[in-house]
């Protein structure tokens, strides 16, 4: 009994640490004022405005390819439409990078590297990091070539983050559907497990094997 408990507990603790919450290897946490965190989370209310703010403040250097948003000089280029007719809204990366090579290279000359595409950045960094980085890039990544374009505009930054969240993550309705699917699946499996157990008990009793 003790052995069973011991081995079960250390196994569960081990997987808890490795898979859920590694208390031994904490990663940096960033802070964000609660009011702006709420804006950044509220995709339904602010993603649309956030996209406009993105186009005004960020699109000169950054693309969001998964939303068919390309850097401003490319977006204005009539070649883009022809390419999209052939390849779809979201251009394959190598097509985009070769056709618009000059646009991207001129950005590289100004900044030292091509500013990254931001389609999945919300998942990679999270809203707190993005909030801090966009408002003061040098504080988070000293020496970075990202200019401080949103100084003193925390609310608009939060809205841009809401837009980035809407591109990277599924919509709130879709998320709701997935929660339902999950609950249904797990409930089904638990019920099946219990039924099988009871059923087996009955058969074994009848066979005199229990």
């Amino acid at each position: 009994m003790i052995k069973t408990v011991f081995f079960t507990v250390i196994t569960l603790v081990f997987f808890y640490i490795i898979w859920i919450n590694n208390i031994f290897a904490p990663h940096e946490r960033y802070e964000m004022p609660a009011q702006y965190a709420k804006i950044a989370d509220d995709v339904k209310s602010y993603a649309k405005e956030g996209k406009q703010l993105f186009e005004q403040n960020c699109q000169s250097c950054h693309s969001v390819r998964y939303d068919a948003v390309y850097i401003a000089s490319v977006q204005a280029n009539p070649k883009l439409k022809t390419l999209q007719e052939k390849y779809g809204k979201v251009l394959p990366r190598n097509v985009y990078e070769s056709v618009f090579h000059e646009d991207l290279m001129s950005l590289k000359e100004s900044f030292g590297k091509v500013p990254p595409d931001l389609s999945t950045i919300y998942i990679v960094k999270g809203k707190e990091y993005l909030y801090n980085f966009i408002l003061d890039p040098q504080k988070v990544l000293p020496g970075t070539s990202m200019p401080a374009v949103m100084t003193g505009r925390p609310e608009e930054t939060a809205k841009i983050i809401a837009y980035l969240k809407s591109v990277a993550e599924p919509s709130p309705e879709e998320k709701g559907k997935r929660v339902l699917m999950g609950v249904g699946t797990i409930a089904y499996l638990i019920v099946m497990g219990v039924l099988l157990w009871i059923y087996r008990g009955r058969i074994l009793k009848r066979m005199g094997l229990h």
């Binding site: 007719e85 979201v90 059923y199 009955r202 058969i203 009848r206």
Partner: protein, 172 residues
């Protein structure tokens, strides 16, 4: 008493098991369904003014090539056709779309506004086996058995929206 309870359980488990199998199959089968992006490709908009009068542009709709024809003002055409289904359907339209697939064996016909061979007025000519169509896609001569297909389409000001029912309600 005991036997019937066990059978009921057995039935319940079997039934739920079948439900489980369907539950696994459902998302797998659904992955075969068209994605949102390709469903969006189900309509194509063309700005009629961007086509010169008397010219034809080829666009892609649902994976097929489609002619967008813009007729000049006061266009007259007196050629003879074997059928005139299309002309009747497209009457009064100065711009319209037709599926650019020859109804004989599937090649893409060519627009010949200066005429071709013995026809000295605008025709579509299919180079594969010599089919001829009127500007409205009605078959004139050669192997094509019927006029070109016309997709559902509607006109919104300067835009021709192919794929949505309008002056043509459904694919002919």
């Amino acid at each position: 008493m005991e036997t019937s309870r066990r059978d009921l359980m057995g039935l319940a488990i079997g039934g739920l098991g079948a439900v489980g199998v369907l539950g696994v199959l459902y998302p797998i089968v659904k992955t075969l369904a068209p994605s949102a992006a390709s469903l969006a490709g189900a309509t194509v908009e063309v700005d009629v003014n961007s086509i010169s009068e008397g010219q034809v542009r080829v666009v892609s709709w649902k994976g097929k090539p489609v002619f967008v024809v813009r007729l000049p003002q006061g266009f007259q055409w007196n050629g003879k056709t074997k059928e005139d289904r299309n002309r009747k359907l497209l009457q009064g339209q100065d711009a319209y779309a037709m599926v650019a697939v020859c109804t004989h064996l599937g090649c893409v016909p060519l627009w010949k506004p200066q005429g071709e061979a013995e026809y000295n007025y605008p025709v579509f000519h299919c180079p594969c086996h010599g089919g001829f169509y009127s500007p409205w896609g009605d078959n004139i001569a050669g192997p094509p058995p019927r006029p070109l297909y016309i997709p559902p389409q509607k006109r919104e000001g300067n835009k021709l929206v192919i794929g949505e029912p309008g002056f043509i309600k459904e694919l002919t």
